[in-house]
Protein backbone atom coordinates (compact mmCIF):
# COMPACT_ATOMS: atom_id res chain seq x y z
CA UNK A 1 0.00 0.00 0.00
CA UNK A 2 1.15 3.48 -0.84
CA UNK A 3 0.61 6.36 1.52
CA UNK A 4 -1.91 8.85 0.26
CA UNK A 5 -1.33 12.47 1.12
CA UNK A 6 -3.55 15.48 0.56
CA UNK A 7 -1.96 18.66 -0.81
CA UNK A 8 -3.74 21.99 -0.70
CA UNK A 9 -3.42 23.68 -4.07
CA UNK A 10 -5.84 26.65 -4.17
CA UNK A 11 -4.68 27.69 -7.58
CA UNK A 12 -6.94 29.40 -10.08
CA UNK A 13 -7.05 27.56 -13.37
CA UNK A 14 -7.11 30.83 -15.32
CA UNK A 15 -3.98 32.16 -13.60
CA UNK A 16 -1.61 31.43 -16.43
CA UNK A 17 -3.96 32.90 -19.03
CA UNK A 18 -4.42 36.02 -16.90
CA UNK A 19 -0.70 36.33 -16.37
CA UNK A 20 -0.02 36.26 -20.11
CA UNK A 21 -2.88 38.71 -20.62
CA UNK A 22 -1.17 41.13 -18.24
CA UNK A 23 2.02 40.88 -20.26
CA UNK A 24 0.20 41.59 -23.50
CA UNK A 25 -1.54 44.52 -21.87
CA UNK A 26 1.71 46.00 -20.55
CA UNK A 27 3.44 45.64 -23.93
CA UNK A 28 0.55 47.22 -25.78
CA UNK A 29 0.31 50.06 -23.27
CA UNK A 30 4.02 50.80 -23.71
CA UNK A 31 3.47 50.99 -27.46
CA UNK A 32 0.56 53.38 -27.01
CA UNK A 33 -1.93 50.81 -28.25
CA UNK A 34 -5.35 50.76 -26.62
CA UNK A 35 -6.74 47.22 -26.80
CA UNK A 36 -10.44 46.46 -27.09
CA UNK A 37 -11.87 42.96 -26.74
CA UNK A 38 -14.94 43.02 -28.97
CA UNK A 39 -17.60 40.48 -28.05
CA UNK A 40 -21.07 39.62 -29.25
CA UNK A 41 -23.23 36.79 -30.56
CA UNK A 42 -22.95 35.76 -34.22
CA UNK A 43 -24.65 38.28 -36.49
CA UNK A 44 -24.77 41.27 -34.15
CA UNK A 45 -22.63 43.23 -36.59
CA UNK A 46 -19.22 43.08 -34.92
CA UNK A 47 -17.25 43.75 -38.11
CA UNK A 48 -19.74 46.38 -39.33
CA UNK A 49 -19.52 48.10 -35.96
CA UNK A 50 -15.72 48.13 -36.15
CA UNK A 51 -15.81 49.62 -39.63
CA UNK A 52 -18.16 52.37 -38.47
CA UNK A 53 -16.12 53.14 -35.37
CA UNK A 54 -12.89 53.25 -37.38
CA UNK A 55 -14.44 55.75 -39.81
CA UNK A 56 -14.94 58.10 -36.89
CA UNK A 57 -11.59 57.50 -35.22
CA UNK A 58 -9.53 60.34 -36.73
CA UNK A 59 -6.07 60.70 -35.28
CA UNK A 60 -5.77 57.14 -34.03
CA UNK A 61 -4.53 54.30 -36.20
CA UNK A 62 -6.81 51.25 -36.15
CA UNK A 63 -5.45 47.71 -35.97
CA UNK A 64 -7.71 44.65 -36.05
CA UNK A 65 -7.30 41.03 -35.03
CA UNK A 66 -10.17 38.99 -36.45
CA UNK A 67 -11.03 35.87 -34.52
CA UNK A 68 -13.09 33.40 -36.48
CA UNK A 69 -13.73 29.73 -36.15
CA UNK A 70 -13.03 29.45 -39.87
CA UNK A 71 -12.84 31.75 -42.90
CA UNK A 72 -11.27 35.15 -43.50
CA UNK A 73 -14.17 36.96 -45.14
CA UNK A 74 -14.20 39.73 -42.52
CA UNK A 75 -10.44 40.15 -42.75
CA UNK A 76 -10.54 40.61 -46.53
CA UNK A 77 -13.33 43.11 -46.08
CA UNK A 78 -11.29 45.15 -43.59
CA UNK A 79 -8.06 44.92 -45.60
CA UNK A 80 -9.91 46.26 -48.63
CA UNK A 81 -10.51 49.38 -46.57
CA UNK A 82 -6.80 49.65 -45.87
CA UNK A 83 -7.07 48.54 -42.25
CA UNK A 84 -4.17 46.51 -40.82
CA UNK A 85 -5.86 43.23 -40.02
CA UNK A 86 -4.51 39.95 -38.68
CA UNK A 87 -6.57 36.78 -38.97
CA UNK A 88 -6.83 34.10 -36.30
CA UNK A 89 -8.76 30.92 -37.06
CA UNK A 90 -9.49 28.85 -33.98
CA UNK A 91 -10.86 25.86 -35.93
CA UNK A 92 -13.58 25.04 -33.47
CA UNK A 93 -12.46 26.78 -30.31
CA UNK A 94 -15.15 28.99 -28.86
CA UNK A 95 -13.06 31.92 -27.65
CA UNK A 96 -9.71 33.65 -28.01
CA UNK A 97 -7.25 33.33 -25.16
CA UNK A 98 -4.22 35.28 -24.04
CA UNK A 99 -1.52 32.95 -25.48
CA UNK A 100 -3.17 33.21 -28.92
CA UNK A 101 -3.19 37.00 -28.75
CA UNK A 102 0.34 37.07 -27.34
CA UNK A 103 1.51 35.24 -30.48
CA UNK A 104 -0.67 37.24 -32.85
CA UNK A 105 0.54 40.67 -31.77
CA UNK A 106 4.10 39.63 -32.71
CA UNK A 107 2.89 39.60 -36.32
CA UNK A 108 1.58 43.14 -36.35
CA UNK A 109 3.71 46.22 -36.93
CA UNK A 110 2.52 48.77 -34.43
CA UNK A 111 4.18 51.72 -36.12
CA UNK A 112 1.83 54.35 -34.73
CA UNK A 113 -0.19 54.89 -31.60
CA UNK A 114 -3.72 53.68 -31.98
CA UNK A 115 -6.43 51.21 -31.11
CA UNK A 116 -6.23 47.43 -31.50
CA UNK A 117 -9.69 45.92 -31.91
CA UNK A 118 -9.73 42.21 -31.24
CA UNK A 119 -12.90 40.72 -32.65
CA UNK A 120 -13.61 37.70 -30.51
CA UNK A 121 -15.49 34.57 -31.59
CA UNK A 122 -19.25 35.11 -31.93
CA UNK A 123 -20.39 33.66 -28.64
CA UNK A 124 -21.74 35.23 -25.46
CA UNK A 125 -20.49 32.66 -23.00
CA UNK A 126 -16.83 31.67 -23.26
CA UNK A 127 -15.20 34.93 -24.45
CA UNK A 128 -16.47 36.71 -21.33
CA UNK A 129 -14.31 34.49 -19.12
CA UNK A 130 -10.95 34.91 -20.76
CA UNK A 131 -8.82 38.01 -20.54
CA UNK A 132 -6.79 38.50 -23.69
CA UNK A 133 -4.80 41.57 -22.69
CA UNK A 134 -7.52 44.11 -23.36
CA UNK A 135 -7.90 47.50 -21.74
CA UNK A 136 -11.67 47.29 -22.16
CA UNK A 137 -14.27 44.75 -23.15
CA UNK A 138 -16.83 46.01 -25.64
CA UNK A 139 -20.05 44.04 -25.80
CA UNK A 140 -22.23 44.40 -28.87
CA UNK A 141 -25.87 43.50 -28.43
CA UNK A 142 -28.76 44.16 -30.79
CA UNK A 143 -32.45 44.97 -30.61
CA UNK A 144 -33.11 41.93 -32.79
CA UNK A 145 -31.72 39.50 -30.21
CA UNK A 146 -34.45 40.38 -27.74
CA UNK A 147 -34.40 42.24 -24.46
CA UNK A 148 -33.72 39.21 -22.25
CA UNK A 149 -30.03 38.88 -23.13
CA UNK A 150 -28.62 40.45 -19.92
CA UNK A 151 -30.69 37.93 -17.96
CA UNK A 152 -29.53 34.98 -20.02
CA UNK A 153 -25.86 35.88 -20.40
CA UNK A 154 -25.16 37.86 -17.23
CA UNK A 155 -21.39 37.45 -17.21
CA UNK A 156 -20.93 39.07 -20.62
CA UNK A 157 -22.92 42.12 -19.48
CA UNK A 158 -21.33 42.23 -16.04
CA UNK A 159 -17.80 42.24 -17.44
CA UNK A 160 -18.41 44.76 -20.23
CA UNK A 161 -16.76 48.18 -20.03
CA UNK A 162 -18.86 49.55 -22.87
CA UNK A 163 -22.09 48.19 -24.35
CA UNK A 164 -23.29 48.88 -27.88
CA UNK A 165 -26.91 48.28 -28.88
CA UNK A 166 -26.85 47.85 -32.64
CA UNK A 167 -29.61 47.83 -35.27
CA UNK A 168 -31.71 50.48 -33.50
CA UNK A 169 -33.14 51.47 -36.89
CA UNK A 170 -35.22 48.26 -36.60
CA UNK A 171 -36.92 49.23 -33.32
CA UNK A 172 -40.22 50.22 -35.03
CA UNK A 173 -40.56 46.68 -36.39
CA UNK A 174 -39.74 44.82 -33.19
CA UNK A 175 -40.99 44.30 -29.66
CA UNK A 176 -37.68 45.19 -28.05
CA UNK A 177 -38.40 46.11 -24.42
CA UNK A 178 -35.66 48.63 -23.74
CA UNK A 179 -36.67 49.22 -20.10
CA UNK A 180 -36.44 45.52 -19.31
CA UNK A 181 -33.13 45.26 -21.15
CA UNK A 182 -31.66 48.25 -19.31
CA UNK A 183 -32.98 47.05 -15.94
CA UNK A 184 -30.94 43.89 -16.45
CA UNK A 185 -27.88 45.80 -17.64
CA UNK A 186 -27.99 48.15 -14.64
CA UNK A 187 -28.44 45.31 -12.14
CA UNK A 188 -25.27 43.72 -13.48
CA UNK A 189 -23.21 46.75 -14.32
CA UNK A 190 -24.26 50.02 -12.67
CA UNK A 191 -22.11 52.51 -14.54
CA UNK A 192 -21.31 50.94 -17.89
CA UNK A 193 -21.82 53.36 -20.79
CA UNK A 194 -24.46 52.15 -23.26
CA UNK A 195 -24.54 53.48 -26.82
CA UNK A 196 -27.33 52.96 -29.33
CA UNK A 197 -26.12 52.66 -32.90
CA UNK A 198 -27.22 51.58 -36.32
CA UNK A 199 -24.80 49.99 -38.74
CA UNK A 200 -27.38 50.70 -41.42
CA UNK A 201 -27.77 54.45 -40.93
CA UNK A 202 -24.42 55.11 -39.24
CA UNK A 203 -26.03 56.87 -36.28
CA UNK A 204 -24.40 56.74 -32.87
CA UNK A 205 -20.86 55.81 -33.91
CA UNK A 206 -19.40 59.30 -33.46
CA UNK A 207 -20.25 59.08 -29.78
CA UNK A 208 -18.73 55.60 -29.46
CA UNK A 209 -15.55 56.73 -31.22
CA UNK A 210 -15.32 59.77 -28.94
CA UNK A 211 -15.56 57.51 -25.88
CA UNK A 212 -12.80 55.26 -27.24
CA UNK A 213 -10.57 58.23 -28.12
CA UNK A 214 -10.90 59.65 -24.65
CA UNK A 215 -9.90 56.30 -23.12
CA UNK A 216 -7.13 55.67 -25.64
CA UNK A 217 -5.56 59.05 -24.97
CA UNK A 218 -5.43 58.31 -21.24
CA UNK A 219 -4.18 54.77 -21.70
CA UNK A 220 -3.15 52.92 -18.55
CA UNK A 221 -2.12 49.31 -18.09
CA UNK A 222 -4.90 47.14 -16.75
CA UNK A 223 -4.29 44.61 -14.07
CA UNK A 224 -5.85 41.36 -15.04
CA UNK A 225 -4.64 39.51 -12.02
CA UNK A 226 -8.08 39.40 -10.51
CA UNK A 227 -11.05 39.81 -12.76
CA UNK A 228 -13.68 39.96 -10.08
CA UNK A 229 -12.31 42.44 -7.65
CA UNK A 230 -15.59 43.95 -6.52
CA UNK A 231 -15.26 44.51 -2.85
CA UNK A 232 -18.50 43.22 -1.45
CA UNK A 233 -18.62 43.06 2.26
CA UNK A 234 -20.73 40.81 4.37
CA UNK A 235 -19.52 37.50 3.05
CA UNK A 236 -16.36 35.69 2.36
CA UNK A 237 -15.73 35.11 -1.26
CA UNK A 238 -13.96 31.95 -2.06
CA UNK A 239 -11.86 32.92 -5.05
CA UNK A 240 -8.57 31.20 -5.13
CA UNK A 241 -5.73 33.64 -5.12
CA UNK A 242 -2.52 33.37 -6.95
CA UNK A 243 0.58 31.62 -6.16
CA UNK A 244 3.12 33.93 -7.68
CA UNK A 245 6.03 31.67 -7.00
CA UNK A 246 5.53 29.69 -10.14
CA UNK A 247 7.65 30.43 -13.14
CA UNK A 248 6.17 31.21 -16.50
CA UNK A 249 7.35 29.68 -19.66
CA UNK A 250 5.15 31.19 -22.30
CA UNK A 251 7.88 32.95 -24.23
Amino acid sequence: MHDVKKINVMENIHDENDHIASHVNEDMTENGIFVMNVMGAPGVGKTTTLKNIIKNLEGLKPYVIEGDIESDIDTKDLRNLGITTFQINTFGACHLDAPLIHNSVQNIMFDEKGVLFIENIGNLVCPAEFSIGEHVKMLISTVTEGSDKPYKYPLAFENADIIIINKVDLIPYLDFDEDFFMKGVRALNKDVPVFKVSGKTGEGFKEVAAWIKEKAENIKATHHHHEHDHSHDGYEHSHAHHDHNHTHTHE
Partner: protein, 114 residues
Protein backbone atom coordinates in the same frame (compact mmCIF):
# COMPACT_ATOMS: atom_id res chain seq x y z
CA UNK B 1 -16.49 23.81 -25.54
CA UNK B 2 -13.14 24.86 -24.12
CA UNK B 3 -12.70 21.88 -21.85
CA UNK B 4 -9.65 20.61 -23.70
CA UNK B 5 -7.22 23.49 -23.02
CA UNK B 6 -8.65 23.93 -19.55
CA UNK B 7 -8.09 20.25 -18.77
CA UNK B 8 -4.49 20.57 -19.95
CA UNK B 9 -4.07 23.46 -17.54
CA UNK B 10 -5.56 21.45 -14.66
CA UNK B 11 -3.13 18.60 -15.32
CA UNK B 12 -0.21 21.02 -15.53
CA UNK B 13 -1.04 22.55 -12.15
CA UNK B 14 -1.64 19.17 -10.50
CA UNK B 15 1.60 17.70 -11.87
CA UNK B 16 3.56 20.71 -10.66
CA UNK B 17 2.21 20.38 -7.14
CA UNK B 18 2.76 16.62 -7.12
CA UNK B 19 6.37 17.09 -8.23
CA UNK B 20 6.97 19.78 -5.65
CA UNK B 21 5.81 17.29 -3.02
CA UNK B 22 7.98 14.51 -4.47
CA UNK B 23 4.90 12.35 -5.06
CA UNK B 24 4.89 9.46 -7.50
CA UNK B 25 1.37 9.96 -8.78
CA UNK B 26 -1.81 11.95 -8.38
CA UNK B 27 -4.79 9.93 -7.15
CA UNK B 28 -7.47 12.59 -7.22
CA UNK B 29 -8.00 16.25 -7.98
CA UNK B 30 -10.64 18.37 -6.30
CA UNK B 31 -11.96 21.25 -8.39
CA UNK B 32 -14.26 24.02 -7.24
CA UNK B 33 -16.33 25.17 -10.19
CA UNK B 34 -18.89 27.95 -10.14
CA UNK B 35 -21.73 27.53 -12.60
CA UNK B 36 -20.79 30.86 -14.20
CA UNK B 37 -17.37 29.54 -15.11
CA UNK B 38 -18.93 28.10 -18.27
CA UNK B 39 -17.07 24.90 -17.64
CA UNK B 40 -19.00 21.75 -18.45
CA UNK B 41 -17.90 19.39 -15.74
CA UNK B 42 -19.46 16.30 -17.21
CA UNK B 43 -17.00 16.02 -20.03
CA UNK B 44 -13.90 16.67 -18.02
CA UNK B 45 -13.12 13.14 -16.87
CA UNK B 46 -13.19 11.99 -20.49
CA UNK B 47 -10.74 14.68 -21.61
CA UNK B 48 -8.74 14.15 -18.50
CA UNK B 49 -8.24 10.43 -19.08
CA UNK B 50 -6.93 11.10 -22.58
CA UNK B 51 -4.73 14.10 -21.86
CA UNK B 52 -3.26 12.75 -18.63
CA UNK B 53 -1.90 9.59 -20.26
CA UNK B 54 1.77 9.26 -19.50
CA UNK B 55 1.74 11.97 -16.81
CA UNK B 56 1.65 11.70 -13.02
CA UNK B 57 -2.09 12.34 -13.32
CA UNK B 58 -2.83 9.22 -15.33
CA UNK B 59 -5.70 7.32 -13.71
CA UNK B 60 -6.58 10.11 -11.30
CA UNK B 61 -10.20 10.83 -10.43
CA UNK B 62 -11.50 14.36 -10.90
CA UNK B 63 -13.96 15.45 -8.22
CA UNK B 64 -15.95 18.58 -8.86
CA UNK B 65 -17.64 20.72 -6.26
CA UNK B 66 -20.20 22.86 -8.08
CA UNK B 67 -21.16 26.28 -6.77
CA UNK B 68 -24.48 27.89 -7.65
CA UNK B 69 -24.22 31.60 -8.48
CA UNK B 70 -25.66 33.97 -5.90
CA UNK B 71 -26.40 37.63 -6.15
CA UNK B 72 -26.80 40.11 -3.32
CA UNK B 73 -29.70 42.46 -2.67
CA UNK B 74 -28.60 46.09 -2.68
CA UNK B 75 -31.46 46.96 -0.29
CA UNK B 76 -31.49 44.26 2.38
CA UNK B 77 -28.21 42.45 1.78
CA UNK B 78 -29.82 39.05 1.23
CA UNK B 79 -27.72 36.60 -0.79
CA UNK B 80 -29.91 34.64 -3.17
CA UNK B 81 -30.04 32.46 -6.26
CA UNK B 82 -31.86 34.47 -8.86
CA UNK B 83 -34.88 33.45 -10.90
CA UNK B 84 -34.45 33.30 -14.64
CA UNK B 85 -35.20 36.71 -16.21
CA UNK B 86 -34.98 38.58 -12.91
CA UNK B 87 -32.39 40.08 -10.57
CA UNK B 88 -34.97 41.03 -7.93
CA UNK B 89 -34.61 39.98 -4.31
CA UNK B 90 -37.14 37.29 -3.29
CA UNK B 91 -37.25 38.73 0.25
CA UNK B 92 -37.75 42.47 -0.22
CA UNK B 93 -38.07 42.99 -3.99
CA UNK B 94 -34.89 45.10 -4.07
CA UNK B 95 -32.38 44.85 -6.87
CA UNK B 96 -29.68 42.23 -6.72
CA UNK B 97 -26.10 42.85 -7.77
CA UNK B 98 -23.42 40.37 -8.85
CA UNK B 99 -21.08 38.69 -6.39
CA UNK B 100 -18.13 36.37 -6.88
CA UNK B 101 -20.18 33.38 -5.72
CA UNK B 102 -20.59 31.11 -8.72
CA UNK B 103 -17.46 32.27 -10.54
CA UNK B 104 -15.03 30.00 -8.72
CA UNK B 105 -12.68 28.03 -10.88
CA UNK B 106 -9.76 26.59 -9.02
CA UNK B 107 -8.05 23.43 -7.87
CA UNK B 108 -8.66 23.15 -4.18
CA UNK B 109 -6.48 20.15 -3.44
CA UNK B 110 -4.99 16.98 -4.81
CA UNK B 111 -4.40 13.59 -3.25
CA UNK B 112 -1.07 12.04 -4.10
CA UNK B 113 0.80 8.83 -3.46
CA UNK B 114 4.22 9.20 -1.95
Amino acid sequence: MHEYPITEQIIKIAVKHAEDAGASRVKSIKLVVGDYSGFVGDSIQMYFDIISEGTKCEGAVVKIQHVKPKIKCTSCGELFERELLSFDCPKCGGQGEPTDIGKEFYIESIEVEE
